[in-house]
């Protein structure tokens, strides 16, 4: 490997490249284009993935939502079309039966109410919730805090409102924390203001109040509208979903095959569909990128083959002067590797710049199409190494061609 660090080796390569500047340039563009495409496509795919992730971002992606509808099968003396509700007993049963699988379980009750503050008012959703809601769907608080256990235990009349509600109900510049608003003619102290999620949003503009307070104020007794469940790491969420539904069916005397009685959404499954699409796209990206790269490398092999053909005589002279086949081969392969490496690096730089520009143009703002389009450094290094290996392999062909011909025949070439 010593020849790699020999300035003479590079002098020789510089000499032969200088001789064919234009052609070398065009050849380099072939490989440059390949790795440029790979970088930009991978970056764009990543940006899109990040965009989707952001879309689901505030949600735990392993969530299942369950609510009740009407039965569609008669069972145990009940007619079909029966309506029923979830209750707090279900929560206890599920928590104890699926203690291993369930990480968080948030029962929820919701209603719509007129909310007033001084002379301003608006109709908003009111939701009775537990503090764990914040862990399932992260709330970005602008002021104050979210509900806590104390609020639940003391059935405190406190509420967390959205930014839009704050703007609608309060004068500009007033501090909402500690102020009282009227929900259904009952005073609640505002303890927090949250920024609404720009992406998936089940609640809209919603005043969150403690679950226990909701129960007391709206007299819901044990009734629950619906629940959010998140699974522990490593749990088969689809399995957990169907198991939970089965348990709930037996608790509520619903036929096990009843398809309509319970409604449920498995967020993981929905995300899986998108992820599958992204995986497909990434595969496509790799395929296109690598195919282009290979085409570029072949172009380099081709140009070296032509160069070797043109330089047959020169190679013959060198051999008459004592160049061994090995030294000739070394030089041609090194030339190939050098060209591919330079082209690869330039391609990466241009690709990076393009991603930077894409990020500036399309990656900014709340509803950006591509979020943070980047490529992993290790992936780029792998691509570069693959490129260098390909360059070596493709260089072998012209290198072989250069030495397969006898020196005497090479010398005769005109």
């Amino acid at each position: 490997m010593r020849f790699l660090f020999d300035s003479d080796t590079w002098q020789e390569i510089y000499g032969s490249i200088r001789k064919n500047k234009v052609r070398t340039g065009i050849t380099i563009i072939g490989v440059l284009w390949g790795i440029f495409l790979l970088v930009v496509l991978l970056g764009a795919a990543r940006g899109m993935e990040n965009g989707f992730k952001k879309l689901f971002g505030d949600f735990a992606t392993n969530s299942v939502f369950v609510w009740t509808q009407a039965t569609d099968t008669p069972f145990k003396g009940f007619q079909k079309g029966r309506r029923f509700t979830l209750n707090t007993n279900d929560i206890e049963v599920l928590k104890s039966q699926y203690s291993k699988e369930i990480k968080l379980l948030a029962p929820r009750n919701q209603t719509n109410n007129l909310i007033t503050h001084n002379f301003k008012s608006g109709s908003f959703k009111v939701s009775g919730d537990y503090p764990i809601l914040d862990q399932i769907q992260k709330k970005k608080l602008i002021y104050g805090r979210f509900l806590n256990e104390n609020d639940i235990l003391s059935t405190a009349k406190v509420t967390v409102i959205s930014e839009d509600m704050y703007k609608q109900l309060f004068n500009k510049g007033t501090m909402p924390i500690g102020e009282y608003i009227k929900i259904n003619a009952i005073n609640y102290k505002v303890i927090g203001v949250y920024e609404p999620s720009s992406t998936i949003n089940f609640d809209g503009d919603c005043a969150y109040i403690p679950f226990s307070t909701f129960k007391k104020v709206y007299n819901t007794a044990n009734k629950i509208d619906w629940m959010m469940i998140t699974a522990n790491e490593g749990t088969d969420i689809a399995q957990m979903e169907s198991d939970i539904l089965l348990t709930l069916k037996s608790l509520h005397k619903v036929h096990p095959e009843d398809k309509r009685a319970f409604g449920s959404v498995n967020l993981g499954k929905e995300i899986g569909k998108v992820t599958g699409f992204l995986t497909g796209m990434q595969f496509l990206t790799w395929f296109v990128g690598i195919a282009t790269l290979i085409a570029g490398v072949f172009a380099i092999g081709n140009i070296l083959l032509i160069t070797v053909k043109e330089r047959t005589k020169e190679i013959g002279i060198r051999r008459a002067l004592g160049a061994t086949p090995k030294s000739i081969k070394q030089q041609i392969i090194l030339e190939s590797v050098f060209l591919t490496t330079i082209a690869g690096m330039l391609g990466i730089v241009f690709g990076g710049l393009t991603l930077f520009i894409i990020d500036l143009k399309f990656g900014q703002g709340v509803d950006a199409a591509l979020v943070n389009p980047t490529v992993n450094i290790p992936i780029i290094l792998i691509a570069l190494v693959v490129l260098i290996i390909l360059g070596t392999l493709i260089g072998l062909i012209p290198a072989h061609m250069a030495t397969v011909i006898k020196p005497i025949e090479a010398l005769r070439e005109e």
Partner: protein, 228 residues
């Protein structure tokens, strides 16, 4: 220095083969200045190529510097060429994008010599052939005679045992021919074995021994008058 016994060489042409050298016996001692003469097709170039290890013979024995040349692979041949042989070609065969100095230094590069050292030696040899001032010129900036002198410097730079010249004056006019021949004579005076192929009687007459080839056999082998 060079000992050839019953050397045969034929080239395949389609199904037939062309028998070019038909049993050559030749013994060249160290310090000789030999001219091989013959019309085209007589096999003189083939003989030089075999002597120069650029081609392989079919039958017979060839000893270079006492070493039997047989079944050489390309690597060994390249090393022997570099070590023992210097070539001068009719068409100069300088590398067009290298300066005169770099051209002369090239054999030393393949010898594995350091750049600074070999450029110094190359410059010495350019001085010897009277082209020191032209060291940094490209071949296309030199005249034919100058090019051939650069080529001779390149052939000498490794201090070979034998200099092989294939029609060294073939592409030169008479004035430059004389200067090139004088240079070859000087080299020979210093003790170098010189082996020249030519079809010009005037050139041959200035060597010490003329070997005439015809149809692949030696028809005469005599010393010239210039042999003192």
């Amino acid at each position: 220095m060079i000992k050839i016994e019953k050397l045969h060489k034929s080239y395949p042409i389609g199904k037939d083969s062309l028998h070019v050298l038909k049993g050559i016996d030749l013994h060249i001692k160290e310090g000789e200045f030999v001219a091989i003469m013959g019309s085209s097709g007589s096999g003189k170039s083939t003989l030089l190529n075999i002597v120069g290890l650029l081609d392989e013979h079919d039958e017979g024995d060839y000893y270079l510097n006492g070493q039997l040349i047989k079944n050489l692979n390309e690597k060994k041949a390249a090393i022997l060429r570099n070590k023992f042989l210097g070539f001068v070609f009719q068409s100069f065969n300088l590398i067009s994008y290298k300066t005169a100095l770099e051209n002369v230094a090239l054999p030393l590069y393949y010898k594995g010599m350091k750049r600074k050292e070999r450029l110094q030696i190359a410059l010495d040899y350019l001085e010897k052939v009277g082209l020191k001032d032209w060291a940094n010129h490209l071949p296309n900036e030199l005249s034919g005679g100058q090019k051939q002198r650069v080529a001779i410097a390149r052939a000498l730079v490794t201090k070979p045992k034998v200099v092989l010249a294939d029609e060294p004056t073939g592409a030169l006019d008479s004035t430059t021919t004389d200067s090139v021949i004088d240079l070859l004579k000087d080299i020979n005076e210093e003790g170098m074995t010189v082996f020249v192929i030519t079809h010009e009687e005037e050139v041959a007459a200035q060597t010490k021994r003329i070997v005439r080839l015809k149809d692949g056999v030696i028809i005469s082998d005599e010393l010239t008058k210039s042999k003192k």
